[in-house]
Amino acid sequence: MSASALLEVRDLSAHYGRVHALKPTSLLVNEGEIVTILGPNGAGKTTLLRAMLRLTPSTGQVFFKGKDITGLSTHRRAEEGIIMVQEGRGLFGQMSVRENLTLGAYTQPSGTMSMDDRLDKVFALFPRLKERINQIAGSLSGGEQQMVAVGRALMAEPKLLILDEPSLGLAPRVATEIIETLGALNRKGLGILLVEQKAPLALKLAKRVYVLSLGRIAAELPATDIKSHHDLAQYYLH
């Protein structure tokens, strides 16, 4: 295992009934790195994330900061510092923005920082949420909901932030805003694993890219090399 490995997945494999949705897959995210997983619809991206977080039964091993967390349940993995923003945001739509955000800090000991200070950190990144604090989360626009989802994840002080298609369904301007925020967080040292179907924006941030196809890793390459692969560039950059 690499000395700076934050997350290491070894031979993770998952089935949906008889369908082998994820063939043995290994990947690595280093400390402070942004890694992107690209792949067309149905490639197994979400299955890979669900298996990593133990939302879907799987075989294989998962290590986090050198510790074998294969046997840990989903909520224990969150306690370790792996926080995921699901595709579709996974907000508690009938609860207020404030309630959604404060639940993000569920794993955080109450003595370390006041809830208001935690909220202020999120508002510094997404000032619009401060105006929406008492609004029911389900009534927000798609972009604002994504901000709540990312903000809620940040309330947990993650060591690794995983995002499943965060720009899906968002206006380009909002998607850019969120991706730029992720870039700023990464510059402060946060490890990020970003899953996208088509992601010219994400590729500007990422250091390395895994290309997933038909449930297996088809390629691993530096993000800058995507341009030199004609087929990949055609598909993922346009």
Partner: protein, 296 residues
């Protein structure tokens, strides 16, 4: 023809009994929201509340308040035991929800049999919390216990509201009811929340049982009618909606009380089931379904 006095008296007793149904109905909702499970052993908590309180009163001669305060955690522990011994093993093995629901029904029958073996099959009761009465206002006579039921029922609803909106655990329970995967991804231990929901539901049932026993009696088999009426209250309110279950319980209680006065005691359950059918025909998701989640 029903007189005004009878109408007012029916309304008061109906609201009192309806609050009891409402508490049982909320108990159904709390577990259902946390897990999707309909706990058919819910009525057994009402029975246990009355029986255990009676046993403490008769065996140890404790004051009523102390006996009640001791009974509630004992019944809450019984709820935890059902979750740990019956529900969780099936849940962890990925059993179908209907199988778990059937197991809770089997648990109700088993607890009833254990109660017969340990405490006997004779009905029993204990005195009203405030002796004397009833309170007479003109021709209207209202037992003091109904004021206790209404007061404690309102207090319980207020405490539940505070719990669900002001405490981290309450918010976490609501989060589980809306999206269990998202809750787990934030570090909320969903299976522990299921245990909390069983304890809370059992405590609500115990309060209902302790409050209602002085107005009638308790016995090993009173859980079934309270369970059924609480279930109907929850359905009327839109299953999973706690405020709806409370309103549904009060509506059901009033209609039953009116049916008794107008048609006779034999029509009490006919009224309840007619209301259920009518509600389901007109509002298939319950009268208050649109309020789900905003009202905890």
């Amino acid at each position: 023809m029903i007189t005004l006095t009878q109408l007012i008296q029916s309304l008061v007793t109906g609201v009192g009994v309806g609050l009891i149904y409402g508490l049982v109905g909320i108990g159904f909702c709390v577990i259902y929201n946390a897990s999707g499970i309909v706990n058919f052993a819910q009525g057994v908590f009402v029975m246990l509340g009355g029986m255990i309180c009676h046993a403490i009163l008769s065996k140890f001669g404790m004051p009523m308040l102390l006996a009640a305060l001791l009974s509630i955690p004992i019944v809450a522990i019984s709820g935890i035991l059902i979750e740990v011994l019956v529900v969780r093993p099936m849940w962890n093995r990925g059993a179908a929800l209907f199988a778990i629901i059937l197991a809770t029904l089997a648990t109700q029958i088993m607890i009833e049999r254990i109660t017969i073996l340990t405490l006997g099959d004779q009905p029993r009761s204990f005195p009203e919390f405030t002796l004397g009465g009833p309170l007479k206002i003109g021709d209207i006579a209202i037992g003091y216990q109904y004021f206790w039921i209404m007061g404690c029922g309102a207090l319980m609803v207020g405490l539940l509201w505070l719990f669900f909106t002001r405490t981290t655990m309450g918010r976490a329970l609501r989060a589980c009811s809306q999206n269990r995967e998202s809750a787990a991804l934030l570090g909320i231990p969903v299976s522990r929340m299921l245990m909390v929901s069983f304890a809370l539901s059992a405590a609500l049932g115990a309060v209902a049982g302790i409050l209602v026993t002085p107005t009638q009696f308790t016995a090993y088999n009173v859980g079934t009618p309270f369970g059924v009426n609480g279930f109907i209250a929850a359905i009327i309110g839109g299953f999973g909606n706690a405020a709806g279950a409370l309103a549904g319980g009060i509506l059901l209680g009033i209609l039953q009380a009116l049916a008794i006065v107008i048609f006779g005691a034999g029509f009490k359950n006919v009224a309840a089931l007619t209301v259920l059918l009518l509600v389901l025909f007109i509002f298939p998701s319950g009268i208050f379904a649109g309020l789900k989640g905003k009202s905890h």
